[in-house]
């Protein structure tokens, strides 16, 4: 597994805790899981939060199982063949690092096969509904080098992971593996840098709000 040691932008603690607690919607879970594949620091943080979850589980008021629970368990377990050890999930589906395993369910052919839809000069997007569990939307944006997205803010619940290329904005430089978990009031205007398009994976649980942001992003281009 590739681990990027120079990741500089990470999810907030509250976001990682919500992930460990199983509270995030599908879209944000996918984005966090994709970041975790690249970030040892956040994997440790999630393991710690899962330990909090383990401690919490021990405090749950038990609900008595039925009297025959253990008997039916062994009846069921007796019939089960031992599962073959799966190949490491870390190796599975590792087609072009960009489409890390958590994304594979949504991008079967990988990032290179995306049917991009142009929304403005230098800006294309691909939208994937992530409605398996707590609906959300996954959105891939492709920003051509040198293109700047007009100033906008993000919802509190939006996460952006850089899959390829890089951009700079008021917050700093974001490169492959970096994740923007911005406060609601951060106003930024990302500029795609380098010589390849910047591809971002964005999760939002509030699609309507996001549409209006894209509207505002697109508007100035249409005005050209």
């Amino acid at each position: 597994m590739t681990v990027l040691s120079d990741i500089r932008h990470h999810p907030k603690d509250l976001t990682l805790a919500a992930y460990a607690a199983g509270q995030l919607d599908e879209a944000r879970s996918v984005v966090i899981a994709a970041h975790l594949r690249l970030c040892a620091k956040c994997r440790l943080a999630v393991a710690d939060f899962e330990a909090v979850g383990g401690a919490c589980l021990e405090t749950v008021e038990p609900a008595a199982m039925s009297d025959s629970a253990l008997d039916s368990f062994w009846l069921r377990a007796g019939k089960q063949e031992a599962a073959p050890a799966p190949a490491s999930i870390l190796a599975a589906n590792d087609f072009a690092l960009d489409a890390a395993h958590p994304l594979a369910r949504y991008l079967k052919e990988g990032v290179d096969a995306i049917a991009w839809k142009n929304v403005a000069p230098g800006l294309a997007q691909h939208v994937i509904p992530a409605d398996g569990y707590r609906p959300g939307v996954l959105r891939l944006l492709k920003i051509s080098p040198g293109v700047r997205i007009p100033k906008h803010t993000h919802g509190d619940e939006e996460l952006t992971l850089i899959l390829r290329g890089s951009y700079t904005d008021e917050v700093g430089e974001f490169r492959h593996g970096d994740l923007a978990d911005l406060d609601e009031d951060v106003l930024h205007a990302p500029l795609a840098t380098g010589d390849q398009p910047c591809i971002c994976l964005i999760a939002t649980s509030a699609p309507l709000r996001f549409r209006s942001i894209v509207g505002r992003i697109v508007q100035p281009f249409i005005g050209l």
């Binding site: 021990e58 031992a82 870390l90």
Partner: protein, 203 residues
């Protein structure tokens, strides 16, 4: 310490069979199951965890029948996948928490829309853990457990609600009649405190 004990309410019927929440003992039991498929050890794990997983699922609105079924399924995973339990990555309670959590999410997914069964990230066979890594993780989990139990009551409550009730921040706020910002700051303070107790630097 007494606060933590007072909070732990045990159902009378299970009380006789229940293993005390001694993390070292739970870890030893799971390792026995992993290495020798010891059924007695597994029965003790079952007695401790099945009612708690059922309780966890019922608290978030799962019917008693489904919760019992999912608790069975969780313990079935523990039995079948015990060989993949990696003590360098988690203690027994933590590992079993992630199994129960993933089952809960999968059950919700199945209810929303049938999807292919994703490989459960709780099972990631890797190279043999080194003994020192095992020690480090186990003692880290132990410190986290102690730090969690030592949290001020107000923080303890929001953390606990966050992890075992299926409650996003906004719902916790509603339930405790607190502003959303207060819930978030209590969580943040709690996590900072846990981190400080671990000896990690707080950023």
């Amino acid at each position: 310490m007494f606060g933590a004990l007072a909070r732990r309410v045990t159902a009378p019927r299970q009380a006789a069979k229940a293993v005390p929440a001694d993390p070292d003992r739970l870890n030893d039991l799971l390792l026995l199951v992993a290495t020798t498929a010891d059924r007695e050890a597994f029965n003790a794990l079952f007695a401790f965890f099945a009612p708690r997983i059922k309780g966890y699922l019922m608290r978030i609105g799962t019917s008693a029948d489904l919760a019992e079924d999912l608790a069975q399924e969780a313990l079935l995973k523990v039995w079948r996948k015990a060989k993949l339990f990696d003590p360098a990555k988690a203690s027994a309670a933590t590992w079993i928490f992630t199994i129960a959590r993933n089952l809960r999410i999968d059950a919700a997914r199945r209810a929303a829309k049938p999807v292919l069964d994703a490989e459960d990230p709780a099972f990631t066979p890797e190279s043999e853990p080194r003994a020192d890594e095992v020690m480090e993780r186990q003692s880290r989990d132990e410190k986290i457990r102690a730090a969690f139990k030592a949290l001020p009551a107000a923080q303890y409550e929001v953390v606990r609600l966050h992890f075992i009730e299926d409650a996003p921040h906004s719902e916790i706020a509603e339930r405790l009649n607190l502003p959303l910002g207060t819930v978030k700051s209590r969580l943040r303070l709690a996590f900072e405190k846990i981190r400080k107790d671990l000896g990690d630097s707080v950023e």
